[in-house]
Amino acid sequence: MGYFTDNFTTLYADGAWIDMGMYIGAGSSAPGWYTLIAAVMMIVILVVGNKDEQDSYDKHK
């Protein structure tokens, strides 16, 4: 879960930052896991949201 560097000096070369992800989990499998979790969250939210919506309609049919 750590950050990929503890020193930015080596990542600045020839007058520019190098082309590299600078987020937490860069260079590891973490982004894939975050993406998977986010996708599952969205699907679950849609399922739960739809159930709530159908319940609302059922009460007023």
Binding site: D19, P31, T35, A39, M42, N50, E53, K59, H60
Partner: protein, 467 residues
Amino acid sequence: MEDQILALTEQLAAVTNAAQVTNTMFAETYYFLSIPLMVIIHAGFLLYEMGQTRVKNVLSSGIKNLLAFAFTIVTFYLFGWWFYWALPTFPYDLASGAGYMGISGIEYANAIALPWGDSAQYMGPNMGDHASGVFWGAFALFAATTASIASGALIERIQTVGFVICAIVLGSFAWVVAAAWGWHADGWLVTEFGFHDFGAAGLVHAVAGFFALGILINLGPRVGKFNADGSANRIVGHNIPLTVTGLMLIIVGFFGFLMACIILPGEGWSWYADGGTTIYGTPMTLSALAFNIVLAASGGIIGAWIVTKDPFWMMSGCLAGIIATASGLDVYFGSHVIIIATVAGMIIKPCANWLEGFGIDDAVGAVTIHGTIGVFGVVVLGIFGSGIPGLGAFAPEGTVAISIWGQFVGAVVMFLLGFVPGYIVSWLVHKAGMLRVPEAVQIKGLDPVKVPAQAYPEAMISSETEA
């Protein structure tokens, strides 16, 4: 002497580097600022849609619109962006390989547009990448715009989650395929047919408009819209000033939308070092847009006024004027724009009435304004723009020019890419019981049934709801 030359060379290198940094930061800022401008489109659609809704359904319409925005953005990140880069050559190349420019195909998309693996570095903060995020952001807002376009047509009787599913298919798949084919230098509609759609009349507006038509067929009209003999009743929204103001905000946002359609010079991803272009690499300037957008907006208002005298249709005409000229905003002359936009403004109400005659309840005229006028704009460019080179100076030899045939083929493809997915996904959602709000709930009002808030708690109570 040699020391002086060496010193000058170093100074020149430093100045060149500084100029490049400035150019890069300007380009990043330019596209970044187009994003909040496009958010204004959504503020406009929100007001437009809520104003056209009766009091008993106002907040439900707002919720639907907000969720269309949010889910389209998220899913465009998860998979929509990938389709844009993966599919330009498909199905001409069934393997979906790279096109002439080398910036397309499944392999390329896998390298830059997936939020996992090695390509994740281009789907999040990156130390040296000033382009991916702002381009993605602009495209994500294009995607959300398609969902908002469809949203208004469906108000007061579509279920929220069912609509969100349709919006995801539209914003993160259907229009993206259209963009890959017709709004990418490697797209087969561009390379094989010379299809030209600078401002996305076809690939955003027509696709979204006809996607809405596909949904409307399965969704059916609002309760009380049509009489037993087939004649239509006019269901009046609760706040026309809100709607008209919303439409004006959409126009404001269009400036951001259209400025983001220009490829700036001087970057690694630019067509040229010293001149702006369209996405096709053909010449383009912001000055051209300044002339043509405001003239198109004005022509559309005037055309709609002479036919309808109705402020709702006048502002819809304003939209229609821009959409009708959007494909060729880079090549039309100002007076030419006035003519096309005025005609567009004049025909929208008759076209909407014609559609209503088939029992289609399009609550805001989205199918006509975006779908019909989008196709009209694409084809009109073929009539007046035939022979204009379809791609810029770095295009392969024998590149096809703009033609009536190419624009016609593009218009048909845009219609199909909108209507077919819209019909299929809404049919599936309908079969799952998630499309149409029950009639008893429509009569009572959606807000009292499923929204824990009131739009106007003290000032306005819907007589229909009370009844």
